[in-house]
Each structure stands twice: as C-alpha cells, then as structure tokens.
Symmetry: D2
Subunit: 342 residues, 4 copies
C-alpha cells in the first residue's frame, strides 16, 4: 500500500506532527510506503512529489509550518482537474490519500471520494477552530497561547501609562481565538465576528475601567464589525486567495476610542505570529493523535472519513460533515465571558 | 448570600483563576459576598479567614499557587471537626461553601453535604489529571507544557553527546503527565505507573535508537515501577502527608541503563517546577469556566454537585462521583503511544 | 536619611527590580527610609507619594511596569516647578532623590543637582538602548527577546506560504532593537533609522531570497526611512507627549514590496508587547545591580552621578553625560550584519 | 582557502550559530570553502568530515547542540596525534582551523599553533562563563534564563505550601549560573563553589524567611561545598571524561535543612535542561558576532588568536590567555548579592 499525503490551506502549527505520526505508524506497524505531494492539490495535479519516509519526518514534531508546502489550488476549478489527479495517482502508484486541510481542502477530498471513488481520508485543520465536527483543531491552542502571552505583556504597559491597548487577533468568521485569549489574558472586553459591537458600549467599559484605576485591554477579532454603518476598513485589494482584504479593525477601533473617550489608545496587530512557530504541547498531542488515527482509517479502508476530537477520544466522522457547518461562538458562551467586561 | 471558599491539597496552576471567576461573577451578577478560609479545611476548623472580594482577586488570573493557602487537614480525622465547621459557618454567616481540591478535599465536601447537610459545591483539582469525572483538570496542561519544554531542550544535548537522558516527571498513580509530555516532546520511551516496565526492553529501545544515530530520551513517571523485584527506591521516610516518599526511579533507571548498555545516562528531575508558576492559556480558560459554573451551581442551590469538563461543555456531576474512581491511562491509549518507542 | 524615588518616561521591564534592590539594600544595610513619588516628577511637584518599604517591593522583581506609575511631566516647563519640588522635598523630609528614567527625566535631575543643589542620583532607563554612557540599559534585552520570539514564529509561515513578512519593531532614533532581534531571529534584511534604506535594494534582497527557495523576513525599526522622498507616513496627529505620531513604515513597506515584486507581503506590528511584561533574567540582573549601586551612590553622597554598565562592572558617570549623546548603531556594526542580508 | 571547523567539549546553545556566521561570511564575503570535522579533535585525528556549506548551516541559528557533534578527545594524549592531524589537514587541503571549545579544546589549539605551526583561530565556549579572557560566553545567558524560569515557577509552590525549595544548577568550579539565576529569580540564598557555605547559616536564613511568612528558595551550584567536613556526595564513579561524578549537593542540603529546621524541603535538579535547546536572543547575537569575527581573524591570518567580548566589542586575544585563569565569582560580587539572603 502506498499512501499519498498533502496539506492545503493556511499553515497551522501541528501539520508536521500529523505527518510524522502518519508515517511512523504507517511504516512501523503496517508496512506502508508514502508519497508527499507538494503544495496541496497543486502537487497532485502537477505531479510534484516530496519524499516522505521515516527519515523525512525525523525532528518534525516541534516544527511549525508544513514540510510539504501548501496552497489553495482547487482541482475542481480546473477543467481536467479530476482526470489529472487520477492519472497522477496511477502514475505514482498511490492507493489512498490523506488530505490535511480546512473546509476547502476537505471539501475537495469529500467530492473526490463520493463522486469519483478516490480513496481519501481527511484530517481537519483550521487555526480558527471553526469546524463543527470536532471539539478542537490543532494549531488553535498555539494561536491562543501566543495571543495570551502578548496580552499578559500589555497589562503592565496599560497600567503604567493608563492607556487603552487594543489587540487584534485572528478570526474572520469565528471569535474563538479572541474569546479564549481574551478570557485567558484577562481582557476587559472581547469583540467577536458573531456579534456586532457597539462602540459606545466599548467606550463605556473603557471608561469604567479607568475609574477603577486600571487600564483597559480590548481584544478584537479581525472579523469583528461595529453595529450600524460600516467601518471604512476594506482597502479594496484582494489577497492571493481572492478574499477581499479587511484590514485594521484594531487600528480603527483605537482611533474611535481615542476620539470618544479622550484616552490614548494603541494597537498591537499580532498577525502571522499567531499561526507560525512550534506547536504547544497540547497541539502536538492532538496532531499526533489525529495522525495515528488517520492511518488507522486508511488501514480500515474507511474512505470518506475524517478524524475528529470528541472529549478525549479521537473518532471518525464523514468528510462531508466537516464542511457542513461553521462552528461559531454560541451567544450563551459569549455572554458567559461578559462577566469580565468593563 | 455569603459564600465561603477554600482550596485544599497540593497546589496547582489555576486555583487563583477559579476564585477570581467565582468572585467576579458572584459579586457582579448575583450580589453575593465571599469569605476565604485559609489553608483548606484548617481555616474553616480554626476560624481563620481571608478577605475575598473583587479587589482581592484582581491580578490573580495569571498567578500560580493559591491566595488562600492550602493544607491537607481533614476535619473527619478530628473528634469535633464537623461541630467546629458548623460553628464557624454560623459564626462567619457563611451560607454555602465552594471547595476546590482533589479527592481528599472533595471527599470531605461530599460527606459534609450528604451526612451533615452542609451546602457545598465542588471544583475538581488535580495536577495529575486522574479524576474520572472530568475530561481534564486545570494545572495538568501547565505541567505537561513545562515537562515538554524541558524535553525539547534535552534533545540537542542527547544528540550532541549521544547520551541517554532520563526525565522524571510527576505522576504517582497515573501516567498522564508522562504520556502527554512524552508524546509531545518526542520521547523514545514513556514509562507509566499503570504498567510495570521491563528494564531489558527499555535498554533494547535505547540501543536501537543509538543504532539509528540518535540519542534516546526516556520519560518516566515518578510512580513507574520495574517488572519483577522491587527497586530499592523507598528511603523509608514519609512526607508531611503520611505518604512514604518514593524517590528516584529516574536516577535508578539511569544507573541501570548505564550498567546494562554501557552508554552514559543522565537524569533530570523536574519536581515542583511542574506545578508552580503561571497557568497556561488553556488552564486559565478551564479554571475560569469552572469558577463561573461553580458559582452558578451555588445560585441554583445544586448542593453536592461538582463542575466537570465534558468535551467543550462544563457540566455538573455529583460530588461523590469525583472520588469514586481513579482515572488511569487505558492500555490501548498507552499502546497507541508505543508506536514511537525505540 | 530618607530617600525619594521616582520613575519617569515610557515604561520598561526592570523598573520595579531597580526599586526593589534600592529599598532592600537601603533598608537592610544602611537603615534608610524611602518615599515614592507617583508618576515621575508630577508626584514630586504635586506632593503625591506612594509607600515604598520592604513590603511594598516584595514580589516586584519579576513584574513589568512600575509600581510608582510614570509620566513625562517636566518641572522646568512650569513656572514654579523648582520651588514646588524644593517645598515638597522639605515637606516629606526627603534628603536625597533617586530618579530612574531616560534622557528627559535624567536631564531634569542633572539640572536640579547642578543648578539648584538638589541631591540626585540617576538610574538610566531606555528600552531603545540609546544612551551612550552605558553599554546596555535594562528592558532592552526583554524587547529584543520578545521581538526575536516573534520572528522565530514567522519563519515557518513565511516558508510555508512563500510570503514576505515585515516585522516592525521599536526604535525611533536608534536601530538597536531591530539590529539585535533581526540578527538573533535570522532576518533577511534589517532596516534602521541610522541609514535611509533603498526600497529597490530591499526588493532585490527579497527576490534573491525567493530564488533560493526561502521566504524573506524583513525587520524594520519604526523610525527607519526610505531614501529619496518622504514616505507618506505621518498622520498629522500628535500623541500625549507632543511627538508627531509616525505610523506604519512596516505597512507602507509591505505594500511597496508587493507592488514592486509581485510577492504577497504581510506586516506584524509588535507595538507595546515589546516593552511590557516580565523582564528577562538578564534585565532583572542588570536592573538589580543598578539599584544596588544607586543606593551606594546615595550613601557615598555622590550627587549628580548616574550608574552605568561598562563591561561587567557597574560604574558611576556624571548625570550630564547621560543626556549628552544619543548612542546610535555605528555604520561598521550595521555593515557587519549586512552579511546576512538577501 | 579551505577552513576546517570543529567543536569540542560539552554542548552549549549557540555553537551552530557561530558556525552559521563563520560560513555565511566566509563564503559570501571571502569566497572560502569549509570542512567540518566530526566530534571535535576526534574527527580531525580520524579523518571524519562533515559537509559545511551555506546549505548545511541553513536554519541552524536557533538550533541547540552542534551539527558537527562533539567529544573530549585530546590529540596530545595520543602518541601520534599531532602527526595524524597534520596528515589530515593536508589530505583534506585544509589551510586553517577554527576551533570552538572550552579550556581543553582551546588549549590544544594553542599548542598546535605555538609548537607546531598549525594555523588556528579559537572561539571560546563555556556554559559556565568561567573564562577570564571574555566578559561573557554564549550559552551562559540561556542557562541562566532556563534556571530563572524554573525558580519563577517554584515561588508559588514554595509559598502555597510553606516549603523550602532547593534548586541545584550547573557550575562545578564557578558560581556564575547560580549567582545570576539566583539574583534574577529572587532566591533567598545562593551557594557557590567559590565560598564554602555554613549549613547553620543557611538554616537561619531559611528560618528567618519563614518568620516573614514567606517560603525560601535556595539556589545551589552543583560544585558548592559546605564548610568543615566533607559532604558524602561522591559516588565514586567517574564519567566518560574522567571526572569523579559529584552528585547531589541539592538533595543533601534539602535533607540537612529538613532535619535541622523541621521544615519540609524539596529539590529540583535541572541538569542538562540548562545546556540544551534553542539559544536566547542574547546568545544568538553573541555567538553570531563571535563567528563573524573569527572568520575575520582567519582572513587577517591572525593565527593563535581567539575572539572575546569586552563591553560591547568583539576583540582578539591570544589563545594562550583563554586557558590561563579560571574566572570565578569575586568575593565582593558575591557579597553584593548577599543583600537578598535570608
């Protein structure tokens, strides 16, 4: 049995840990061979491969990024994509495929399995933790940890100078990173994409915090939006993935707070720092277990399945479930955090 | 409503975060007052209190240890323990009690509720993660993170000098810290209390690792024991909690490996470094949510309940469940990790 | 003897460590008493004091910020500033003053000593490390460490996605943080205020890095400026200290790189994360030694002196030297780092 | 010009950073070629080489350990050592040699240059910081940082349980790591090899600390010895370098404190964790500059020289100076730290 492996979408700490586990167990227990495809579906479409054996994954457990590279290439947006994939699977004698990625990557894997009989197993990956099929995804804990450490450091500055500090964290459609890091860092207010925020309410929290002789820290997800009327945030340009680039809710909010409260406000934009570097112990554990169970799904010929975390167990769910529903922050969970606002 | 709070047993990162959440929500949402008792049940027995209001918990989210102090005093081992507890609850006008602790502390709370009608709510705490009623306990992730960082650092030394490095981590009766940190750190073998280890097998893993031109790192839980015949580890003394002190399975194992394989072996004993200091983001989140839900249980007059994590939800379980069963590493989970041994 | 202490200017990890050392040695060895003035010279002008004894400094060694608060109030910009200072020194029976601060704060101390006979001793503080009188200042190592950790994390993202990552670090007039963190983080190019940069050269480094199949990381000090023609960076507003706010050389440069090379570029602006939080071991050591020697200078009645680091020794220099000359990155030191550009 | 490079002695964070700088500048600026010798002088004696070019050093800046491996082989303890070295230098067409190591390694380089005309340049390396020719050596700051982080974590446990915590750190002959980490971590007493300690005095510090309602942390260098009478520490065995293995001053002292004060005491032995893993930003900077200046010394044909740090400058000193004198903690520096004892 030769198993192909590819990683798609944005990078995420733990991708290499997944592959190391897949290869170590696949080679050591089941005697499989592996072929890596470079840059997600692109490598499979264009027949670009990467050696993937025990030596290749040595030392990769603590390494961020992905040794295979990544892209957002979608084979279904190309006329002969499926045909080329089938040809290359045959050419490289690849019997089954493990696709590690987010909604898009796994959506392709689901269609390839369901409609074209390609034998795929999926491993979910999203730094934003917004897949409903799994309790957590690897990378998320690392992002939260990085953001929390930054918030920890900002507290002393906020207090020494009695300034408002706004921290913009990742999260376009779901506020998980903002919610977890904001709670863990002791933020005085957390703004998430799921609920439009009221700038006046934010300012009243800021003001009440100052009255208690402490300085406020506002954590805002990059996708959070104010109530009523649009921010002028879009700069019109699109990034390489075709997304309109939103920039600067943090910067925008800092200026609003300054002008409405008369208090100085500064912004920190953590950006890609949140998604790079070595995974936390938690993410290495989760990624490793995902890998061990993904190769078991291959052995069980459980095509079209995806590994997922439920409580402390790794289970399998249909790949189609992975892309069904965005997991967003429930109102009652956000309300729970509201205890600490102001 | 006045709520008493106490922390018992060994310390654990996150205790202060629990109390901060309890107080912030209790004061802000429900208008409760709080009284802290110093050093666990001792403070309640002896009427020693600590001020516990919003000011007292300010800045405590990232602080390790417990602002109330802790002890292992057990009121049931004293003739008039229950009487004195009732007297002091009356004296300090405390209507309900939140007990934060492990098996012993929660066992007392369960009996006080069930047999004497004291209105208790419990919050589970064990750095070893060995309570079956909850998926995880706070403090555990911090311990695993500290141990993993140490293992990360040892890799380069192990490889530069081709030495065996033995890392002894916490875990007297359960191997969770060893298992998680060993997997996350890329250990070449993990030894846990749940399964007696075979020194010859450990030596064969060590030797095969050297043959692959890499140096082995052995993670051993302090409670792990070799097969057949006892180690001479017990030094006969007992600690202040009456436990016979086991010391040095790490040191003992390093010497055995040296003498059997002819390879140099060194030991690192992390000790209390694993249970002190600031909690990780994960533990702050878990501890905070435990606190928020514990005060809700008080409001709901759900006496005799304990908060617990199930998946991503905080639920309530009977306090009696907390102490029923030690949660140990299941054989199949240990077997899963065995892929990486050798 | 009663000694007054104040901290002025921007905050800096290690301020509390200085004060702890001053008080511990002053009380323990010399039997002095201490009075803290709140928010730098403002507290002395307005007679606002803070208790400063052994209990007040307990636990402050690892804490960022300053327990006294800080401001940029300058007594010489007020008509009766000197008179009020003298009155308050008399009123609070303060015999000598330890002023901890940067150019501005120490400049005031120098004039007060030289022109008005106020008995001052200075401790230098600048996160930017730009004081020529001392090899290093505390806080700088912490800032470099925080920036380096961020750069470390960005490497994997840069490589996985083959993007340019621009990191904007502190340094308005001197490029020390950029130089040290850029070298320690393995940046592919470092831009400092001391030398105007050529955007085309930066782009050629970026391009050559991509040709070697690696992705570039560009570290830019906030005060760095391009050659020829001004950036449109100034937003016209001024901050509370009267500085015109420059914003966004990082963001500006990322856009230039994108448009000139066709490669995606993203920016991380670390901001105040660099100057907050717990000091590194190095900064705690340096701050502690500065404090121990500052109180010795008081005992020696060495008024008008400032402590400074020379090699591994703490020495005393005239306060006036502190403000004489900005210590900038020498061309040959920058040239040394140039080996790694591109 | 072909330059040979080797690393000898115990490992130390920063060795790879030195070599990366040597190679990047040597290739990029001077057009040199490089040959690595495996495991210090052993590789040169036995003709075992390692490829050392720009690709080989890529990504090595943040990596602990040494890509060349290390050993303590001494060519002068072999009959034909010098002859074999000369033969191998000729065989591999190596014109000059950069030796990175401690006293032993540099002592060999000094003799080879002075007595046999081998063209050597040295880079000093000692985690213990005990070379008198340089202000600091790389690796030392990393060790101090690791030890300080451990002490930080121990504070909360010490206080929550009112136990004595003893931390044993590296330092056989010099107490630099103990002194710096003890000061930075806020230890209540620091014991170094340079001055025999009085157990009764240590116990009186411990007791007085408890009286102030705080728990003591004792930092002890592995080479520290009590006054009067020997500890029974030596276990009689010798390690691979012929040193008699001292073990357990920390464990020994904890037991003494327990029996004399009646207070529980626990020990943490950090061991090799202190010398492994990624170098701090400071050590990467120092190691990189050492490397850049070492290759300049080769270009200048300054044979028999060694690079050293003086203040903020990298200078050259004769290799012979490196081994002349052990740099130990001066009594007045230790006395300075004594302010914080008890």
């Amino acid at each position: 049995m030769r198993v192909g492996v590819l990683t798609g979408g944005g990078d995420c700490p733990g991708l290499n840990a997944v592959m190391r586990a897949v290869v170590r167990k696949g080679v050591g227990r089941y005697g499989y061979d592996f072929t890596g495809f470079r840059d997600g579906w692109r490598g499979l479409l264009e027949g670009e491969t990467v050696r993937l054996d025990v030596a290749a994954v040595r030392g990769m457990l603590p390494r961020g990024g992905t040794l295979l590279g990544s892209s957002r290439t979608n084979p279904f947006s190309q006329d002969d994509g499926v045909r080329r994939i089938r040809e290359n699977l045959a050419k490289y004698e690849v019997d089954a495929l493990i696709a590690i990625g987010g909604e898009d990557t796994l959506g392709v894997a689901a269609r390839l399995t369901d409609e074209y009989g390609v034998r795929c197993v999926g491993v979910p990956k999203t730094i934003d933790n917004d897949l409903s099929a799994t309790d957590y995804t690897f990378g998320f804990n690392t992002a939260v940890t990085v953001a929390t450490e930054a918030i920890d450091r900002l507290h002393t500055t906020a207090e020494s100078h009695m300034r408002v500090l706004v921290v913009e964290v990742m999260g376009r459609h779901a506020g998980w990173i903002a919610l977890h890091s904001g709670l863990a860092g002791g933020a005085n207010c957390i703004l998430i994409p799921e609920q439009r925020f009221d700038v006046d309410e934010v300012c009243s929290w800021v003001t009440s915090r100052f009255r208690a002789s402490y300085a406020p820290i506002v954590v805002v997800a990059e996708g959070a939006m104010p109530k009523g009327g649009e921010m002028v945030l879009k700069d019109g340009s699109t990034d390489s993935f075709g997304h309109v680039r939103l920039s600067g809710v943090g910067e925008w909010l800092a200026k609003e707070i300054e002008s409405r409260t008369g208090k100085e406000a500064r912004t920190t934009v953590l950006g890609h720092v949140q998604r790079g570097g070595t995974p936390t112990a938690y993410d290495r554990w989760l990624a490793t277990r995902f890998g061990l169970h993904a190769i078991d799904a291959v052995r069980d010929e459980d095509w079209g399945s995806m590994v997922a975390l439920r409580g402390t167990d790794i289970v399998r769910v249909p790949l189609s479930q992975a892309t069904e529903k965005l997991k967003t922050v429930a109102p009652e969970l956000y309300e729970e955090a509201g205890v600490f606002f102001g």
